[in-house]
Amino acid sequence: MSEDSKQAEAVEEKPYKPTSPSSKLNFDGFWEYDDAPQSADHVEYKDQYDLFIDGEFVAPEKGRYFDSLNPATEEKLTSFAEATQQDIDKAVQAARKAFNKSWSTLEAKERGKYIFRIARLIQERAREFAILESMDGGKPIRESRDVDVPLAAAHFFYYAGWADKLDYAFPGKKAEPLGVAGQIIPWNFPLLMLAWKIAPALATGNTVVLKPAETTSLTALKFAELCKDAGLPDGVVNIVTGAGQTGSAIVNHDDIDKIAFTGSTEVGKIIKKSLAGTDKRYTLELGGKGPNIIFEDAPLDQAVEGVINAIFFNQGHVCCAGSRLFVQEGVADTVIQKLRDRMETLIVGDPLDKNTDVGAINSEQQYNKINEYLEIGVNEGAEMYQSSCQIPETGYFCRPTLFTNVGQSNRIVQEEIFGPVLTIQTFRTAEEGIKKANNTPYGLAGGVWTDKGSKIFKTGSEIRNGVVWSNTFNKFDPTSPFGGYKESGEGREGGLQGLYPYVKLQ
């Protein structure tokens, strides 16, 4: 029996015991964290939400509503209206009217001030948004509180300032707004994706019809309330809820000038196809299978932290997750052992507990999909290792998982799982590592770990990804453009580059 599996077995005997094989740190007995629940008492939400069209909450034409569950408890949280064609028509009309009457005629600096106002209102109500985000989507409160919501506010703050400075953004050209933008966002970062979509659209003078994901629409409707509070002119922002059909009604609407979509590559391709032959502009932020490359000379402890963050952040529901790890042979055993030890310390459970590292899987559907992939991995002959943590009996939870002994053509290496599942492969030369990293139709983001600057730049320039995190991972900022090469999407969001998709240049 190898040293590795002996240690792994030793770990399994006790439920939870952080160890470090290099420093031989040994905690006598395991640390128990007391519960640290975030109170949700002062947060209010309604039993049922209508559509937000032309500045008002209105019932859907067909009167249909669907339930939204809290994935950590499997209990109903609230219900959302299902928008159908007539509702989308109304929303687009409202957005068109607002574009023609109020928004495009408003002075740019005043437009900016509305967006600044929105940013401030999000900051003021940050905790409320964070709690709702965790309840509706299952992500740990620490993450929604410290990442999602502050970044969403920062995004509005950043783009607000662009509103009256667009003449400086496009050398030699003058920017004009496109008109009405139809925006469809995913369930992994509901409020943050809303901010990524709405902030640049408004700053450049467009109006929007946005559809949040059907499992996580709550913060978008709270955001609608906030638009009212901000005094934003009616119809500038319209929020319509529903599933795929609602989305397709937006994509195929004749009076929409631009589609912005974040979601799977599969749906992205359907959207691109349905826009074929039209003059509608589009941006697509799609799937990924991010490589994370660790060279022998990397600071290994930092790298291990980075890998943990790359794949277990937000339960692995991240399009740019570092889901494929490539370790240079000489350090592979050490890295894998360190990863297993670090995985053991992850706390999986109640999203509203401030100590929780990994929350609930967003929906039953996604939970089943992840479990299917675990089975596929095992059937393909890969070795599966899962942390031995306790997980709650109700709710959708998945143990942090890694696969070794995987081949380049294995489905778990090629396909996006969108869960806390890491595959580990090794390489000898840099060329081999880079080649393996690029052997995928995806090209969203990737990581490089080495202490050598020249190697960072060489590897970084050779991996075909829109974002390169060197000696770090999963960092986001409103000033930093994000988006994919190859089948991970088209166009960029964030930064100056994120203005392009919303303007025509004259």
């Binding site: 590559t265 391709k269 691109k272 074929a276 974002v467 390169v468 060197s470 000033t479 453009p481 089948e487």
Partner: protein, 289 residues
């Protein structure tokens, strides 16, 4: 003297730095301004396209690894070579019905266009790249990077200027390309390949095929090892336009259409033609002691 029999030129294709005939053995007739046969042009096939894409893919990394300065010098060299063969190109345009003045203007504009883009080779990165002031302790910058291999339809009209105008912005940014020459007037394109071949342009960076757009549309837009498709046709049929877009979804090929009416005008050149074939790569690195 007058008894001498003129040596006629055979027009072939340009792939990987060589001048092969189409593997299909097919040809089509090209006529001059008076409907006399000028030459037999290759009617390229799907297989020719495949070979050309392989050549373009193999050349891409090396071309992109050239310094920006070097790529600029090579574009400048193309312009120099074209200048020395100006008379040949003017004459060739005259055979297809151009008046001398118009032919000269087109060749001169082509030379100037090459120089315009040669000059951009080491500047568009500075104009369109950004350093991003992120809130965390990281150094963060975004740079344009070439998409890779671009399939191009050269404009039907303006057989030389059109070709140069679509080729130069694509290759100056580190892409390689496969260009389908003007169907009606393919000869200038093949003569231009001779200029490329004597201008230090590495083989495979520009590949030029002749043939029928209708036949090659499907293959040029569905090929999965091609990153982008570039065409200009202002009057393209709606059905064809839709087909191009639909085929491109297969591997999320970037489709760029520039319906330029007048290739001599200012709108026919700008650095945005370069960035149309660039991705943005953003790199993060921690800052600390």
């Amino acid at each position: 003297m007058s008894d001498r029999i003129e040596v006629l030129k055979t027009y072939k294709t340009y792939v990987g730095g060589n001048f092969p005939r189409t593997e299909s053995g097919r040809y089509y007739k090209v006529y001059d301004g008076d409907d006399n046969i000028l030459a037999n042009a290759c009617q390229c096939s799907r297989k020719d396209l495949r070979d050309a894409v392989v050549a373009a893919r193999n050349a891409q990394k090396g071309w992109n690894n050239r310094s920006a300065y070097n790529r600029g010098q090579i574009l400048y060299r193309i312009a120099e070579m074209l200048e020395t063969r100006k008379a040949q190109f003017v004459e060739e345009l005259e055979t297809i019905g151009y008046k001398t003045k118009k032919a000269k203007a087109e060749v001169e504009a082509s030379i100037d266009r090459l120089i315009y883009y040669a000059g951009w080779s080491d500047k568009y990165q500075q104009v369109f790249g950004t350093i991003n002031p992120v809130s965390s302790s990281h150094f963060n910058f975004s740079m344009p990077e070439p998409m890779g291999v671009v399939n191009v339809w050269a404009p039907e009209e303006r057989p030389l200027l059109g070709l140069v105008s679509v080729m130069a912005p694509v290759i100056v940014g580190g892409n390689t390309c496969v260009i389908l020459a003007s169907e009606k007037y393919p000869l200038s394109a093949i003569s231009f390949a001779e200029v490329l071949n004597s201008s230090d342009v590495p083989g495979g960076v520009v590949n030029i095929l002749t043939g029928f757009k209708n036949e090659l549309l499907e293959h040029m837009t569905t090929h999965k090892d091609v990153n982008a498709f570039f065409y200009t046709d202002p009057d393209i049929e709606q059905g064809k336009r839709k087909q191009i877009d639909e085929n491109a979804t297969l591997n999320l090929k970037r489709v760029r259409r520039k319906p330029v009416e007048d290739w001599l005008s200012e709108e026919a050149q700008s650095p945005y033609y370069i960035t149309d074939f660039q991705e943005t790569k953003t790199t993060w690195h921690p800052v600390g002691l």
